[in-house]
């Protein structure tokens, strides 16, 4: 388990519900797992100064981001007794209502997955160089700020 190489976490555009369903189905053969936990980040149609966000366009410093995702994976496996973990993040345009981040952790027992999932998501938000350009319906934009 120690020699995991950085994987490519990024997918072009939104993450489809079908992709998520397939990912869940793939774990049915791993019968030592007793608990999964899933985080889905969805693009919110926030209203700012009477204009509504219709999409977020994501860019990233991809090499650094993939290495950071890898560091987060390693740290999480070090801290928590997980069977497996999958992270996918969108690049390019994701419309309001669509999924832009999919984090999936699995373990024999439930308590571990609750804690590990929150840890992974918070680490991603704080430490991975991804940048969101929020596009309004009139095509003007502002840069997303994580709170």
């Amino acid at each position: 388990m120690k020699d995991r190489k950085p994987k490519n976490v990024f997918v072009e555009g939104a993450i489809s519900p079908e992709f998520i369903a397939t990912s869940i189905a793939k774990h049915q053969s791993k019968t030592s797992i007793g608990a999964h936990d899933i985080f889905l980040g969805q693009v919110r149609a926030d209203m700012v100064d009477n204009k509504t966000i219709k999409a977020i366009e994501y860019t990233a410093y991809e090499e650094m981001a993939n290495n950071k995702f890898h560091e987060i994976r390693e740290a999480t496996f070090g801290k928590y007794e997980l069977s497996c973990m999958h992270i996918y993040h969108s690049l390019g345009t994701v419309n309001a209502g669509e999924i832009c981040l999919f984090v999936f952790v699995s373990s024999p027992r439930r308590k571990v997955v609750f804690e590990a999932l929150e840890y992974v998501v918070e680490e991603i938000k704080a430490n991975v160089p991804v940048f969101g350009r929020e596009i309004f319906e009139d095509e003007s934009h502002q840069w997303k700020v994580n709170t």
Binding site: T59, E63, V121, I124, K125, W143
Partner: protein, 77 residues
């Protein structure tokens, strides 16, 4: 020696490019920032961090080559 810099997010809007090569070679991050603030005064007001070879560095860090990147606040997820 020239210095290659990558810009991301709103910083790339200010510089109007995602990557460029500076003719001179500043020896510290601080010197680099002075050059960039002269070239792009709007950068001064922006919150960003500098990475060299994908590691975040401080202003007193020596520049001895490597890939330099200017990174605005991260907003993934």
């Amino acid at each position: 020696m020239s210095t290659n810099i990558k810009y991301f997010g709103l910083l790339a809007e200010i510089t109007s490019c995602r990557e460029e090569s500076l003719g001179n070679s500043p020896s510290t991050v601080n010197e680099l920032l002075e050059l960039l603030f002269e070239k792009y005064p709007d950068l001064k007001e922006k919150d960003f961090r500098v990475a060299i070879d994908q590691q975040l560095v401080t202003e007193d860090t020596q520049i001895t080559g490597g890939e330099i990147a200017l990174l605005p606040p991260f907003s993934g997820g």
